[in-house]
Every structure is written in structure tokens, then in C-alpha cells.
């Protein structure tokens, strides 16, 4: 992580370097002003030299202009440094999330990821901005003042020797104490975000069951916990300012008391004490500034740890060291060899239980089975959305683990059961299939997927705006656009996971007919609930409880597969019951 942060600093080194330099320059310039008034008083007034006074004043104004310029530059640099630093960080977090596999995504909530991208990065950004402004100035002032104090009088400086370590220890304890509290606070913020996200997504359910009050109670609980955690965390840092100030106050009084005796005895000049107190107040100012940086640091520290988690979440799948990174899916044959899989590795019950089968290139294969029998899991092995526990999945005779993700998934188009469109126009959504698709490609894909008809009713056709998740489309329209998007990939293997469930039977039939005609050389895997949807497939796989219990044509399965026969009978019965 340190290396990552350093690389951002390096990338924007100009701002990180010049920012503090300008800040220091302005501090030095600023310090000369009182000196120059001293000159006016000591030389100008004492000699009655008006032109000297005027010259000095003009010089002071010139310095003021310079100070202004350098502090403006310093401020601009620090804003730039912090904003660019955090933009880099946000970009990298997002890029990392893009590398997550399906199982990574299964155990991180969207709400939490978003809090990290915005809120946590913001905490870090504020810290960086503070740091670049104070990084050099405050410690320089502190060390300078301490050095001056020590050279002034060692006895008095002894006061500092007692106070500074005590103060450092207190600050250290405070920071250490508050860090876990800030972590808890940010976690609670995740909960809040999740609750809000969920109630926005589910608001139709909430409304239809009149659960507004119920949800409010839930939210109020989360909100109140956030309130408690915030107070719990923030109250620690309230001590910083009073503790710093009172320590310096005490040090001042101690110095007065110690020096008082020395002066009364005649061992010390009064001026020494006055000067010492001036340095003490300078030390105080810089300590306070540093304390603010400390406060930010502990808060940013908690956020940085949460950001680190994103980078440290082990990617359980990479394609960096695959055997055939150049290989592409050419023909589209699929083979499962004794594949087993579980979502939760500590559970004994397998979701896929020793599955073996083979699909030749260009074949259409239906997959049938009861709810929860493992159909969707089965097909998600092919584009390597999950890795098998044992056995292997081959595409074109090559293990899917040996392809690069890009080449593998370019050859395989999946229409997920829980599919999604994104806000933007229809065209923007279709571009997902192929960035370079031509108008003819679009027309072809929407013709096959039966989208052409409803698109023609839209005033703006492909330019029609979709709301978030395609909210303004009917379920069937959404599914058809998802299919069109997949077709635009021109895949070798097309997998439809119950993708026409919201289509009426006639449209579904038209779609399958069009698909058969225009995609002869595409290997198709079709998960369906109804046997009628897959009856004309080259082969049908029957899943039951994670096992493959049937593999053959309709006629064969009617002969050999009990489960298939049962499914067939219930559907036949359903269709003819009232005739």
C-alpha cells in the first residue's frame, strides 16, 4: 500500500514538492515583517528619518505581495496534490473491483464498496491536503522554536524536556485509541449505506406491503447506531486541543515560576523569560497544527485500512499466468470432465456433483431441471465465472483455465438469469456487445432477439433512454435487449439462462426460430423451464440435485430418464388438464 501511495506522490511530485516549499517561503517572508517594523522603530523613528520609514513600508508591502503569491501558490499546489492523489486512488480501487471474480463479489456488499470509493477516499484526501500544507511548516516551526528555546536557557528548556514527551505520549495514546473507533464508525456507515441502497431498490415491495414504518424503524436503528459510533469515535479527539493548550499553559507558568526565582536572585534577565514565552507560544501553535494533522491521520488511517482491504481481497482467479494466453475460442465445443463444485467450501453438499458431458461445436443443447438443481451453476463454469473444485471444463479441447479471460469470454456470450441493463440509451447498452457494431449488426441482433418490433414503437428507436436497470421497460423487453446485446458479441458459444422467461410463448418461439436460422454454427446452451422450449434441441441435459441424470434427445430421455418423464408429464398434464 505504501508503495502505491508513494507512486501517486511520485506521479504528481511537482505539487507535492512545490506545495510545501511555497508554504515555507510564505512563512519565512511573513516572519520578516515584524523585523522590519522593528527597523522602522529602531532606525527610522530614532533618527527621525521619514524617507527611511517610507522605504521600509514600501518594502513591507512588496513582501506582502510576495507572501500572497507564494501562499496562493502553496494552497493551489496542496489542493491539486490532494485531488489528484485521491483521483488516482479512486481509479485504482475501481480498477481492482473490476478484477474481482464472481465469488469475490458475492461477499462484499455494494454499499460497502461505494462508501470506500467515495467517503473513505475523501478522508484520505483531506489528510493529504492537510499534510501538504503543514508537512514542512509546522515541524520546521516547532524544531526552530525548540532550538531557539534551548540555546536561550538550558534550565528553562528543561521544562520542555518534561512536557514534550508527556504530550507526545498523550497524543499517541489518543490516536491509538481512536483508530479502532473510527473503523467502527466507517463500518456503521457501510450498514447505513446498505440499508439505504436496499430500501431504494426494494421500494416497490416496501410500498406494496405498506412497510414504510417498519423500514423506518430499521433505518432509525442503523442511524442511531451510526450516531453513537460517531460520538464514540469523535469524542476522543476532542481531548487533543485542550490537552495541547493546557500543557503549554502549564509549561509557561512553570517557566515563569522557575525563571522568577532566577531573576529575583539576579541570575537571569527578564528579557530571556519574555523571549522564552514567545517561543513557547510558537511551539504551541505548531503543536496544535500538528495535532490537527494527527487527528486527520487517525481518521484517514481507519479509512486507509478499509481501502487496503479492497486491494488485499485475494483475487481467487487471475488470467495472468495462463497456459495459452493467445488462444481464442474457434469452434465452440464444450466438455465437462467429472466436475464438482460448491459455493461454500466448508459445506458437504455439492452444488455440482461429478458432472461429465460433451457438446459438439454447433450443437444446440437444452438444460432442464427443477429449481435449485444446479443449472445456472453448471453454465457459469464455462465462461469461468467460478472455478471448479475438481474435474475440468474444456472449451475446444482446452481447459478454460488456460485461456485469457478476454479471449474466453469474447467467444462465449452469456445471458444471465438475473440480467441487467444500464442507464443510457438502447444503443449505449447494445454497444456492450460490440463497440464496433454497425447499424446492420444492430438491426440483425434486434431482429433475431425480437426486439425490433418494440423498438420500432419507441419514438427515438436506438436512441431511447433507459432508466437505471432499464426500469422503464417491461420484463420481456429487457430480456430481449439482453439477448440482442449477447448476440452482438458474435459468440461461438451462446448460453441462455432462462432468458426468455418473461416472453410470451409466441415471441419465444419466433426468437428460437430466428436463432436457429441465423446462428447455425453457434453452440447454444439453453436453460429452460418448459420442455417445449428445448424439445427440438440436439440434446437435452437433465439436472437433478446437482447431478446429471439424463443426457440425450427427447425421445431417448422419454425412454430412459425418470426425472425427465416426470417433468414432461406435469407439463403435458398442465396443458391438457382442462381440454
Amino acid at each position: 500500500m505504501k508503495a502505491r501511495y508513494l507512486s501517486y506522490v511520485k506521479r504528481h511530485w511537482k505539487f507535492f514538492l512545490f506545495g510545501p516549499m511555497f508554504v515555507i517561503l510564505s512563512a519565512i517572508l511573513e516572519i520578516t515583517l515584524p523585523n522590519m517594523t522593528a527597523n522602522i522603530i529602531n532606525n527610522g523613528i530614532a533618527n527621525g528619518d521619514i524617507s527611511y520609514i517610507v522605504r521600509q513600508s514600501v518594502l513591507m508591502m512588496a513582501i506582502a505581495v510576495l507572501t500572497m503569491a507564494s501562499s496562493v501558490m502553496g494552497a493551489i499546489c496542496s489542493v491539486n496534490a490532494a485531488a489528484r492523489f485521491s483521483a488516482d486512488l479512486r481509479r485504482d480501487i475501481f480498477a481492482r473491483v473490476q478484477k474481482y471474480s464472481f465469488s469475490n463479489l458475492d461477499h462484499l456488499t455494494t454499499g460497502s464498496l461505494i462508501t470506500r470509493i467515495t467517503n473513505d477516499v475523501n478522508q484520505i484526501q483531506q489528510f493529504v491536503q492537510n499534510l501538504t500544507r503543514m508537512m514542512l511548516r509546522a515541524p520546521t516551526m516547532l524544531i526552530g522554536a525548540m532550538f531557539m528555546a534551548f540555546t536561550l536557557n538550558l534550565n528553562l528548556a528543561f521544562v520542555l524536556c518534561v512536557m514534550i514527551p508527556l504530550l507526545a505520549l498523550t497524543l499517541f495514546l489518543l490516536v491509538r485509541n481512536s483508530l479502532p473507533r473510527y473503523t467502527k464508525m466507517q463500518e456503521q456507515l457501510d450498514c447505513l449505506n446498505t440499508q439505504i441502497g436496499e430500501s431504494i431498490e426494494n421500494e416497490r415491495v416496501i410500498k406494496s406491503f405498506v412497510r414504510e414504518e417498519f423500514e423506518k424503524e430499521k433505518f432509525f436503528g442503523v442511524n442511531d447506531r451510526l450516531y453513537q459510533k460517531s460520538i464514540h469515535a469523535l469524542k476522543v479527539m476532542l481531548w487533543v486541543d485542550p490537552v495541547c493548550t493546557i500543557s503549554i499553559n502549564i509549561a509557561t507558568l512553570a517557566a515563569v515560576w522557575i525563571a522568577g526565582r532566577q531573576i529575583m536572585i539576579g541570575n537571569m534577565e527578564l528579557g530571556t523569560l519574555t523571549a522564552f514565552i514567545t517561543y513557547l507560544s510558537q511551539i504551541l501553535t505548531s503543536l496544535k497544527v500538528m495535532a490537527i494533522v494527527f487527528v486527520r491521520w487517525s481518521r484517514a488511517g481507519a479509512s486507509a485500512a478499509r481501502v487496503r482491504e479492497i486491494f488485499e481481497e485475494p483475487l481467487d482467479m487471475t488470467d495472468e499466468s495462463v497456459a495459452c494466453p493467445e488462444r481464442r475460442v474457434e469452434a465452440g465445443s464444450i466438455e465437462f470432465r467429472d466436475v464438482s463444485f460448491r459455493y461454500f467450501k466448508n459445506r458437504s453438499e455439492a452444488v455440482l456433483d461429478h458432472i461429465s458431458f460433451r457438446v459438439e461445436a454447433g450443437q444446440t443443447v437444452g438444460i432442464i431441471g427443477s429449481t435449485g438443481s444446479g443449472k445456472s451453476t453448471l453454465i457459469s463454469m464455462i465462461p469461468r465465472l467460478y472455478d471448479v473444485d475438481s474435474g475440468e471444463v474444456l472449451v475446444d479441447g482446452v481447459n478454460v483455465r488456460d485461456y485469457s479471460f478476454d479471449h474466453l469470454r469474447r467467444g462465449i456470450a452469456v445471458v444471465l438469469q438475473k440480467n441487467m441493463l444500464f442507464s443510457g440509451t438502447v444503443r449505449e447498452n447494445l454497444y456492450w456487445g460490440d463497440e464496433d457494431a454497425t447499424e446492420e449488426d444492430f438491426d440483425e441482433a434486434s431482429r433475431i432477439s425480437q426486439s425490433a418490433e418494440f423498438l420500432s414503437f419507441f419514438k427515438d428507436g436506438y436512441e431511447s433512454e433507459l432508466g437505471q436497470g432499464g426500469i422503464n421497460l417491461s420484463g420481456g423487453q429487457k430480456q430481449r435487449l439482453c439477448i440482442a446485446r449477447a448476440l452482438l458479441r458474435k459468440p461461438k458459444i451462446l448460453i441462455l439462462d432462462d432468458s426468455t422467461s418473461a416472453l410470451d410463448t409466441a415471441t419465444d418461439a419466433k426468437f428460437r426460430k430466428a436463432l436457429r436460422e441465423s446462428a447455425k454454427d453457434i453452440t447454444c446452451l439453453i436453460i429452460a423451464q418448459r420442455i417445449s422450449s428445448v424439445i427440438d434441441a440436439d440434446r437435452i441435459l437433465v439436472m437433478d440435485n446437482g447431478r446429471l441424470v439424463g443426457n440425450g434427445t427427447h425421445a431417448e430421455l422419454m425412454e430412459t430418464c425418470r426425472v425427465y418423464r416426470e417433468i414432461y408429464m406435469t407439463q403435458k398434464e398442465g396443458d391438457t388438464a382442462n381440454d
Binding site: V72, T118, K207, S208, E349, K459, S474, T505, I567
Partner: protein, 624 residues
């Protein structure tokens, strides 16, 4: 990034860079959610400030305590400074040579001052602690009110706003206000007190020299005003950019699996980076302007300081003004600088907060679901539903339903069939008053539905929606959502009726298995079963099943049907399905086509009619 993509992104997020975005026409029905966040209207700052102040003023008791403590701290600080000087200057030098007596007096004085310091710090701490509570409470209340408001917004609002952008208002925008309450109020008030104190002391010391400094105030005001005017809209832009980034992240991360299978990681990264850079630029330009204020004002004061030194020096030389007075005056002129500096640096925070508040109040001011019901005494409905000549469109001039008329008696099952997009789901949207009808009327038990209070209406309509949504919580809690006082037995009975029981008991902890992320660890069919169970457990007399079993295999569907038959007795049921096997037993089947009912009747009648329904039916029969 290719030029083509760059152009597309610019077009999509046009609202982010232009200050007066062109209002987009909704082309289908919703708005453009992603870009929606990027747009904004000019707002009334005064109103925002007023509302914000009103919000904070609700913690007035705490704030007054905090202010009293703050005042005590500031005065105590000043007093301590003035007490220290005499101790050093006279207290010590008086007793040179008289150590014993001197130390006794000095010790007493030091202890006295120490006590004062301790008191001041205590006040200081109390002030901070009280302020923390006050600010956190305001934030808590703000989020609370915002959430309450959210629950009152109509479905249409959610259909046209991005989830992530709304979430950003709860967190990022509320935070900006928190920052302001925490730091700005204190800095402003102590700044003003110090400023006034210093000016008075300056005038008392030397009127003419004081006037020099005071003469610079119009310049200070002018500079501040100019900067304020320039940077204010930039902060709104920054919060909008943040909202847009949040909106995009939310949408993409929710749909991350789709991103993966299309190998769109790079493209989404590009789009994210585009928004990220927009945000970065917005941050830089907003903060650069506002951060100028500190140094500029500070150095205007330095100018005043130089001129005071010059004029003061000349006055000493020519007029016999004493040097001591000049030193003190100069000291005050420098002190004058501090509060101005402090106040100037707060501008950042104030503007962020105003921009945040604007976005929060935007939600607060959005139109709520209008309650038109005058019959608040309606408590029980039996479920006699009548639609009379209902017309509806999501957008004016784009009708979705035309002249729908139908009657459903309690215990009847009414089915809607028809091709996708024919308007089936829309009918259910109207039934639960998610949207209001334009023309015609819907009656339940003879009462027009706009006369029935929404909560009453909706608690009598149990819906299984096409889009499946589950809540974070156990399976049991999710089913119980249908009726909160359902016993464990009733929950299980409902699960059994809809054939969900078998898979539930096979889950890790059965009914107590925790569902997360919208039930990500369940199959689509299983999620649908839970959805149905949720409706089954409710006692609502009207049941709406919108493609409730589309992802369930036919064997399970048969079992659900058998289980549901018992539940549907005496209930009015509306079924939307394209599987004709699901609807054939219905008392009446409505065939919808492009928003019109083209046929209606029972299965036999419709077959005999030989129209669209019979075509559909035979097409399937042929396929089988």
C-alpha cells in the same frame, strides 16, 4: 480513450460540465438516471440557508450551552493573556533581591493563573463536547427526515433517479453539513468576537491608526464577495460530480457480473475514470477559488500593517505620538489578521455544506405521493375490484392502457395474457396506486381507489412482483415481511404451500439462514419461491401475481398451484403469466394487446372464439 468514446461520454454526462443543462425529454417513460445526477437547476441560496439554519436551530438548547462556554473560553483566554504580562513585567522585577517574599507572591499568582487556565480549558472542552453532540444529533435528524421523506416519495421518483446518487445525498452531502457545524460555527463566532474586541482596543489606543485598518474593510469585503460569487456554483458542481460518480459506481458494481461476462471491465474503468477526472477537476476548481480567499485577505491585512507602520512612524516623528502606543497599535493590527484569516478559511466548508444542503433539500422538496383519500374510515376491504374505462400512460401522450374495463369478485381469479409490453404489469401498478390513473376509475368494494387511504389499499393487496427483491435478514424474516405478526408456524405453512419449505430446510441454518445482497446465495427460482411465500403469508384479500413463477420449473409450479389454491379461496387473484398452463383455470382471462383488452372470457370461451388466445394456445400445443 478513443475520440469516439470520449465524445459519447461527454454527450452522456453533458449536465456535468454545462452550468445550465438542457432539460432532456424522457423518451420512453423514465429519465436518464445516470446523467440525471449530473444535472442541476439554479437554486435559491437564501432558502437553503434558511432551511439549514432552521435545522440546526432545533438543537438550540445545546447550541446555547456551547456558545456560552465558547464565550467564556474566548474571554478567559483574553483575560489570561492580560494577566500574564503584569506578572512578568512588574511581579518579578519588583522583588529582585527580595527572593522569599517575591516567590511567595509569585507562587500565589502562578497558582491563581493556573486555576484560570484549567477553568478556561474545561469550558473549552465542554463547549467542544456539547457541540459534537449537537452536530451529530442534527446529522442524525437530517438523515432521519431524509429517509422518512424517501418513504413518502412516489414510485415514479425512484424510477427516474439513480440509486447511487440518492445514496450519496445521505452520506457525502450530509457529511458536508456535519463538517460545517463542527468547525465553522465555532471559528466564525470566536472569530467575530475576537475581531470586535480587537477593533475596540485599536480605536481606544489610536483612533487614526485604527481608521487605516478599518479603511481596508471595504476592500476585504469586495474581494471576499467576488471570490464567493465565483466559487459558489463550483461547489454545487463538485457535489453533483460526486453524486454522478456515486451513481455510476453503484450501478456498475450492482451489475458487476454482467460487466464481467461481457468483458467490459476496461470500458467501465474508462467511464469511471472520465467521471473521476470530472470530479477531480471540479474539486480543484472549486477549492482553488475558495482557498484564495485566505491568503489574499491575510495579505491585505499585511498591507494595512505596513501602512500603519509607515503612518505611525511618521506620526511619531512629526506629531510626537509615543512609541509605546505605536508598538501596541501595530500589535493589534497583526491580531486583526488572525480572525479574518480563520473566517476566510472556513469558506470552503461553508460552500461544501451549502452545496450539500441544496441536494438534500432537493429531495426534501420533491413531490410526495399525494393522499387524496377522504374516506379514512375504510378499514376492511373484501376485494371486489372494478376497472371502468381506465386510460393510462407513464408519460403524457404515450398511452400504455386504453379503455380497460373489468370486474373481479372476491374469490375470482382473473388472468392477464398478452405479449410483452402489452401493459400487463401496468395494470398492477395502477391497482396498488404506484401510479395514478389519468382517466376512468378503479373501484374496490364500490369505493373509488383514490378515496381509499394508500396504506389501507396496499395492505389489502399482496403483490408478487416481477423483479424479485429480498432483504438482508433471515429467510424467516423475509417471509414474515408479508405479515409482521405471522407466527413461525404460519411462516412455515406459507413456505410449504408454495413449495419453498424443502429447499429452505436444506439451507445451512434452515429458516434462520441469513440472506445477503438480495439473496445472492440462492438460485433465481428459489428467490421467486420466497417472494411468493411472502405474499402467501399475508391475509390480503387481493393477490397479484406478476410472472410469479416464471423462473420456477413446471413441476414445482404445479405444486405451488395446488398449495396456493387453498390460499386463494375467497381472495381475488390477478395473475399475469405467459405460460397458458398457469392461467387456464382462471375465471376470466383478459387478452391484452398494445394496451387494449382484445378478448376476454374463460379458457373454453376464448378457445371457441378462435381469436388471439386460441392462436397462442395452439401455437404452444403445436410446439409441444
Amino acid at each position: 480513450m478513443t475520440e469516439e468514446r470520449e465524445r459519447r461520454l461527454q454527450q452522456k454526462y453533458a449536465g456535468l460540465s454545462s452550468r445550465a443543462p438542457a432539460k432532456k425529454e424522457f423518451s420512453i417513460g423514465g429519465g436518464r438516471a445516470g446523467a440525471m445526477a449530473a444535472q442541476g437547476k439554479p437554486k435559491d441560496t437564501k432558502q437553503t440557508v434558511k432551511k439549514l439554519v432552521w435545522y440546526l436551530s432545533r438543537e438550540w438548547a445545546l447550541i446555547i450551552v456551547a456558545l456560552v462556554c465558547l464565550l467564556a473560553t474566548t474571554v478567559g483566554n483574553l483575560a489570561a493573556t492580560y494577566m500574564l504580562r503584569p506578572i512578568i513585567n512588574e511581579g518579578i522585577s519588583q522583588y529582585i533581591g527580595n527572593v522569599d517574599e517575591g516567590m511567595r507572591v509569585l507562587t500565589l499568582r502562578v497558582i491563581g493563573l493556573l486555576t484560570l487556565y484549567v477553568c478556561v480549558r474545561t469550558m473549552h472542552f465542554i463547549h467542544k463536547r456539547v457541540m459534537l453532540t449537537a452536530s451529530q444529533r442534527s446529522l442524525n435528524r437530517l438523515r432521519r427526515d431524509l429517509y422518512e421523506k424517501l418513504q413518502k416519495l412516489p414510485v415514479r421518483y425512484f424510477d427516474t433517479h439513480s440509486t447511487g446518487d440518492l445514496m450519496s445525498r445521505f452520506t457525502n452531502d450530509v457529511d458536508t453539513i456535519g463538517d460545517m457545524v463542527n468547525t465553522t460555527l465555532v471559528a466564525m463566532i470566536s472569530g467575530v468576537i475576537t475581531l470586535v474586541g480587537t477593533v475596540i482596543l485599536m480605536i481606544v489606543t489610536n483612533f487614526w491608526l485604527a481608521m487605516i485598518t478599518i479603511a481596508f474593510t471595504p476592500l476585504l469585503t469586495f474581494v471576499s464577495k467576488t471570490i464567493l460569487k465565483k466559487s459558489r456554483p463550483l461547489f454545487s458542481k463538485r457535489q453533483r460530480a460526486l453524486g454522478a460518480l456515486n451513481g455510476f459506481s453503484e450501478e456498475v458494481i450492482s451489475g458487476q457480473k454482467v460487466v464481467k461476462i461481457f468483458g467490459r471491465e476496461d470500458a467501465t474503468e474508462e467511464e469511471f475514470e472520465y467521471l473521476n477526472q470530472q470530479l477531480c477537476k471540479a474539486q480543484i476548481s472549486a477549492q482553488t477559488r475558495s482557498i484564495l480567499m485566505g491568503p489574499i485577505n491575510h495579505n491585505i491585512c499585511n498591507f494595512a500593517y505596513a501602512i500603519t507602520a509607515c503612518v505611525g512612524g511618521i506620526m511619531v516623528v512629526t506629531n510626537g505620538f509615543d512609541i509605546g502606543g505605536l508598538t501596541v497599535s501595530l500589535d493589534y493590527t497583526r491580531k486583526f489578521n488572525q480572525p479574518i484569516n480563520e473566517i476566510s478559511t472556513q469558506i470552503n466548508v461553508v460552500f461544501s455544506a451549502l452545496a450539500g444542503a441544496e441536494r438534500i433539500f432537493e429531495v426534501m422538496d420533491a413531490d410526495e405521493e399525494v393522499e387524496t383519500a377522504r374516506l379514512s374510515n375504510v378499514k376492511e376491504l373484501r376485494g371486489h375490484v372494478t376497472l371502468e374505462h381506465v386510460h393510462f400512460g407513464y408519460v403524457p401522450d404515450v398511452p400504455v392502457l386504453h379503455d380497460i374495463t373489468l370486474t373481479a369478485k372476491p374469490g375470482q381469479k382473473i388472468a392477464f395474457v398478452g405479449s410483452t409490453g402489452a401493459g400487463k404489469t401496468t395494470v398492477t401498478n395502477l391497482l396498488s396506486r404506484f401510479y395514478e390513473i389519468e382517466q376512468g376509475q378503479i373501484f374496490i368494494d364500490g369505493i373509488p381507489i383514490e378515496q381509499i387511504p394508500r396504506p389501507v389499499l396496499r395492505s389489502h393487496v399482496a403483490m408478487v412482483l416481477q423483479d424479485i427483491h429480498l432483504f438482508t435478514g433471515t429467510v424467516r424474516e423475509n417471509i414474515r415481511y408479508g405479515r409482521l405478526d405471522a407466527t413461525d408456524e404460519e411462516v412455515e405453512a406459507a413456505a410449504k404451500a408454495v413449495s419453498a419449505h424443502d429447499f429452505i430446510i436444506h439451507l445451512e441454518k434452515g429458516y434462520d439462514t441469513l440472506l445477503e445482497h438480495d439473496g445472492a446465495n440462492l438460485s433465481q427460482g428459489q428467490r421467486q419461491l420466497l417472494n411468493i411465500a411472502r405474499a402467501a403469508v399475508s391475509h390480503a384479500p387481493i393477490l397479484v401475481l406478476d410472472e410469479a413463477t416464471s423462473s420456477v420449473d413446471t413441476r414445482t409450479e404445479r405444486n405451488i398451484e395446488i398449495g396456493m389454491d387453498a390460499l386463494m379461496e375467497n381472495r381475488t387473484t390477478f395473475v399475469i403469466a405467459h405460460r397458458l398452463s398457469t392461467v387456464r383455470k382462471a375465471d376470466r382471462i383478459m387478452v391484452l394487446e398494445r394496451g387494449h383488452i382484445i378478448e376476454s372470457g374463460n379458457h373454453q370461451e376464448l378457445l371457441a372464439l378462435g381469436g388471439r388466445y386460441s392462436d397462442l394456445y395452439h401455437e404452444i400445443a403445436k410446439l409441444d
